[in-house]
């Protein structure tokens, strides 16, 4: 149960991280008509963060020991 609560708390931390990264003002930093690897910067940023969040969640969930 303790490990399960720990996993839950890690996921809440990911939630908070996502809330910050997907919202103003961080998102405004990438709101520019620039491109990265041929992809518009803003889209690149959002999809990169998205992949990061899912990866972190999968990492914490599939590696938990309970």
């Amino acid at each position: 149960m303790n490990r399960s609560i720990l996993t839950g708390q890690r996921l809440v931390a990911i939630f908070l991280l996502g809330c910050v990264m997907f919202n103003y003002p961080l998102i405004a930093l990438f709101n520019k008509p620039a491109k990265l690897l041929d992809i518009p910067l803003l889209y690149f940023y959002i999809f990169a963060v998205w992949v990061l969040l899912i990866g972190l969640m999968a990492w914490f969930i599939e590696r938990r020991e309970d």
């Binding site: 996993t7 839950g8 996921l11 809440v12 931390a13 990911i14 939630f15 996502g18 809330c19 997907f22 919202n23 103003y24 998102i27 405004a28 709101n31 520019k32 008509p33 491109k35 041929d38 992809i39 518009p40 803003l42 889209y43 959002i46 999809f47 998205w50 992949v51 969040l53 899912i54 969640m57 999968a58 969930i61 599939e62 938990r64």
Partner: protein, 917 residues
């Protein structure tokens, strides 16, 4: 050329496959080998979230707002992080209470209120019917477009088509038939549909593959990769603006509110009711967002590609997914896309109509039917057929409503607009649900007023304006406000401008909803049942799993009353089977053996709740059960106890283990104490006996001397000598008792020093030499020259030696006696032996001689040869210095008393350390 019959037969073939999967899934479920007992399938079934609104609408939204299509998918991704706590809690509560719909959940939480259940149902129907009509519209439009292949023709207004030629009508009818077949084959107490879930998971795969196929075709077939598409965008200023968000507060506000809106719990049916195992939730937490991510990768390329391909705006962006392959003459791909869209639509429609029909049946129809006495419902024997037909009619009715809405308002808004209005309606449940599972203080009246207020604001700010825009209401209502009051403009309520309509409505409705919920909850005292249910929901994790012991009324009914009652709703056979299983669980052979008690009533109510909802089950069971309501204090006591049970049980386990250990320790200690007590009694009686013997002789001789003054001098001297000797013996005895007591209690004084055992032995021998010479007993000394010094108390060791030597003399025959004292060293110890050739000691006595007052021979009859304390004292002394005192002997062959002392003297120091404490 795609003929209508080709499209239709492919569609029917696809639906046939779905039905086969569902049928197979149900068969497997009945056989106990669940097809959907798998976390991946659970995650896929959750992807029913991606309806045609995603499949077709995302591209449309991306084409008009650019990045604006994303928050609807980012929200659930973020929310997934909270599922571990929130969703798990909802699932746990629902399983414990056999909750079968969101209306059931809310009404159960707030005291099994029928009013609340009905209210939630009404809001859900009003909020979701437009969403269903959206699915009909999407399928019908895509069908019409595909029918004109290879021409690209936008469908005319649906209303313009004659009713019987309207494909949406047929689609609605087919879907209704399909849903009835899927969802209401039989009445299930848990309201789960395994086959349907399997089919939904399959549909999720199909629609994802279809969308990816179009995405890859557009990105790599029409264009040459992401880079190519985005570099072409540069050239078109209108498209370039889609790549960023307008840098204003309002656009970020709307971004945020959409993210928030899409976070709210949805898909109650799939996520909670159809959940097989709550452990599946873990994988869904990351897999469901992953699905959303994958299905969104190609949205922007398709949108931009479509805008570049059809630059004149003649083609609706909502149809790009279909029209792009058509424009490129990809017949098979277009057909596949149509099937993907069909998947997205059917999945959503089936799930939502089943959920809604359950709610309509349990929370609207049942309460009404139960009240209408003239229906004579109480006289009917089997109501399960009635329940099923209510649900079937409800499904048909909901789809009919969806179709009517589609005919009436389908063209007023683009697809995405309808979707968001629907989202905002369902969002009204969030405060009552989230508040209900985390705040015990939320009350029924609070929830009702919150829901009503939120729903009213939603109607005023979103629904009515959408009607107005469809031309059913005067547009003045939007532009000038109600009764011409500018402050009441529905989309700029109280002058709040600058937000988009969804954010605006969401803000005001949530403010009203949450505000009323909290304020009213705080003002009204909850009833007993509300408090009880509230505590049970909030503290669900503190209760043991499957604990059915908590209830807030006590009452009992005979099984003969309950079984027919339940049988009327579930069907007699199913009810009988359920009761039998319940009896077996309790170790009873048959149903008739079940006792009439509150547990049985609770079981029956729970069983019924699965079929007709918690609130109705409460009313029905109450009709046969004589109940006495519990007071609030009693309920709280029950709850407190129950919630503490789990925490305590773990502690108790630990404690009981500790207790067991302590008990066995205590038992041993008790035995030892009893033994000691007996020994003390023995000791006391022996001491008194030993003291009385010399006292008696002293007194006897003293009395002779006192009473007979004529005793001659010789006699007198003789008597006095005896008195003196006996008095000395008495003194010695008392000294030894005191000595022993001191040593045993640890109060003795020890003067430890380095001593040479040669000296000790010689001094002792010298002190006892008179004893030896009196009895003419020989003494040999074999003293090894090389014995190291030991740490001990010199006087005490001499005391031991004196005791051993005098004992040896005592038990040796005069003249023939021979005593040998040996001193040797080795193996870390020094050893001193005192060997005699006297009477010896039998094996039985060899241990007892070291106990107090035990002497060889019967002390009661034979004249005692000593005090019986010498050896115990000696042993105590030797053990104090870490050594041991033992005897080797055989009867008639003399005895060898020997003691050893450790050379390093650690024992002495250790024991002294302890004595000083």
């Amino acid at each position: 050329m795609l003929q209508g019959w080709v499209i239709a037969s492919v569609s029917f073939a696809y639906l046939g496959v779905l039905f086969a999967i569902a049928y197979f899934g149900d068969k497997r479920a009945d056989a106990g080998r669940s097809l959907i007992d798998n976390p991946t399938i659970y995650a896929l079934s959750l992807a029913v979230y991606c309806t045609t609104w995603t499949f077709y609408g995302s591209v449309g939204r991306a084409a008009s707002t650019g990045i604006g299509f994303l928050p609807i998918y980012l929200g659930p991704t973020l929310m997934a992080g909270l599922w571990w706590f929130v969703m798990l809690k909802i699932i746990r509560i629902s399983k414990a209470n056999r909750i079968t719909s969101i209306a059931d959940f809310v009404s159960s939480r707030y005291g099994k209120s029928q009013l609340l259940g009905g209210l939630v149902t009404v809001i859900a129907v009003i909020g979701i019917v437009p969403y269903i009509s959206l699915q009909l519209k999407a399928v019908s439009n895509s069908f019409t477009i595909l029918l004109h292949y290879p021409e690209i023709v936008m469908p005319a207004k649906a209303a313009a088509q004659p009713l019987l030629q309207d494909s949406a009508l047929y689609i609605a009818m087919i879907l209704a038939a399909f849903t009835i077949l899927f969802g209401t084959r039989h009445l299930d107490a848990t309201e789960r549909h395994e086959g349907m879930v399997a089919a939904i998971a399959f549909e999720s795969v199909v629609k994802l593959l279809a969308f990816l196929a179009v995405g890859i075709f557009v990105t790599y077939g029409i264009f040459s990769g992401f880079g190519d598409i985005f570099s072409r965008v540069e050239a078109v200023p209108k498209l370039k603006s889609l790549m960023t968000v307008a840098d204003t507060g309002a656009s970020y506000g709307s971004w945020w509110s959409l993210t928030f809106l899409s976070m709210l719990p949805r898909q109650f049916q799939i996520a909670v009711v159809e959940n097989v195992n709550e452990r599946h939730l873990a994988r869904a937490i990351w897999m469901f967002p992953l699905y959303l991510l994958i299905i969104n990768i190609f949205v922007l390329p398709i949108a931009v590609g479509g805008l570049m391909h059809f630059p004149d705006g003649s083609v609706d962006a909502d149809t790009f997914v279909l029209t792009l392959p058509m424009a490129e003459r990809q017949e098979a791909l277009a057909l596949f896309v149509f099937i993907g869209g069909l998947s997205a639509a059917t999945g959503m429609v089936i799930v939502e109509t089943i959920a809604l029909s359950t709610m309509v049946c349990n929370d609207l129809a049942m309460p009404v039917l139960l009240r209408w006495k003239w229906l004579r419902l109480h006289e009917k024997q089997d109501l399960s057929g009635l329940l099923l037909s209510i649900r079937r009619w409800a499904i048909a009715l909901i789809l009919l409503l969806g179709y009517i809405y589609f005919r009436a308002a389908g063209e007023a808004y683009a697809l995405v607009g309808i979707g968001l209005i629907s989202f905002a309606a369902v969002a009204q449940f969030a405060p009552a649900i989230i508040g209900g599972i985390y705040w015990k203080g939320g009350t029924r009246q609070g929830a009702i007023s919150g829901l009503l207020a939120g729903f009213a604001v939603w109607t005023y700010t979103l629904l009515l304006p959408s009607f107005a825009k469809s031309g059913w209401l005067s547009i003045n209502f939007i532009e000038e406000g109600l009764f011409g009051v500018a402050l009441l403009k529905p989309q700029q309520l109280f002058g709040l401008a600058g937000l988009d309509e969804i954010s605006h409505s969401l803000f005001w409705s949530m403010l009203a909803n949450i505000g009323c919920y909290i304020v009213i909850s705080l003002r009204v005292r909850p009833t007993v049942v509300e408090t009880g249910q509230g505590t049970m929901f909030v503290d669900v994790f503190k209760r043991t799993a499957g604990a059915e012991g908590t209830r807030f009324w006590r009452g009992s009914a005979q099984v003969q009353e309950l079984l027919p009652l339940i049988g009327r709703f579930l069907g007699p056979d199913r009810a009988r089977a359920a009761f039998l299983a319940y009896a077996r669980r309790r170790g009873l052979a048959s149903i008739d053996a079940l006792e009439a008690n509150p547990d049985l009533v609770h079981f029956a109510e729970n069983l019924l709740a699965g079929a007709i909802g918690g609130a109705s089950a409460r009313v029905i069971v109450a009709s046969v059960v004589k109940e006495e309501p519990l007071g609030i204090d009693e309920v709280m006591n029950i709850l407190d106890e129950a919630s503490q049970v789990r925490a305590y049980s773990r502690q108790l386990e630990q404690k009981s283990q500790e207790l067991e250990e302590a008990t066995s320790g205590l038992r041993a200690a008790n035995e030892r104490l009893k033994e000691l007590d007996r020994m003390k009694d023995d000791f006391m009686s022996t001491v008194t006996h030993e003291l009385r013997t010399p006292l008696t002789s002293i007194r006897a001789f003293s009395e002779i001397l006192l009473e007979d003054p004529k005793t001659d001098l010789i006699e007198r001297k003789k008597f006095l000598a005896i008195i003196v000797r006996e008095a000395e013996r008495l003194t010695r005895l008392i000294n030894q008792v005191l000595d022993l007591a001191k040593i045993e209690s640890g109060n003795a004084e020890w003067h430890t020093s380095e001593i040479d055992l040669h000296e000790v032995i010689e001094e002792s021998v010298a002190a006892t030499s008179s004893l030896f010479s009196d009895k003419h007993i020989g003494l040999n000394m074999v003293l090894s020259g090389n014995v190291p010094k030991v740490k001990a108390d010199r006087d005490r060791l001499i005391q031991v030696m004196l005791n051993l030597l005098s004992n040896a003399v005592k038990f040796c025959e005069a003249e023939r006696g021979q005593v040998t004292v040996t001193l040797s060293a080795g193996d870390g110890v020094v050893r001193v032996d005192v060997q005699d050739n006297g009477t010896g000691i039998g094996e039985a006595d060899q241990q007892t001689i070291f106990e107090k007052f035990r002497q060889v021979g019967d002390t009661m009859t034979a004249k005692p040869q000593g005090t019986g304390l010498g050896l115990p004292i000696s042993r105590q002394i030797i053990e104090h210095f870490g050594g041991s005192l033992r005897v080797m002997s055989e009867l008639g062959k003399g005895a060898n008393f020997y003691f050893t002392l450790p050379l390093n003297g650690n024992g002495a120091e250790h024991r002294e350390g302890r004595t000083e404490q």
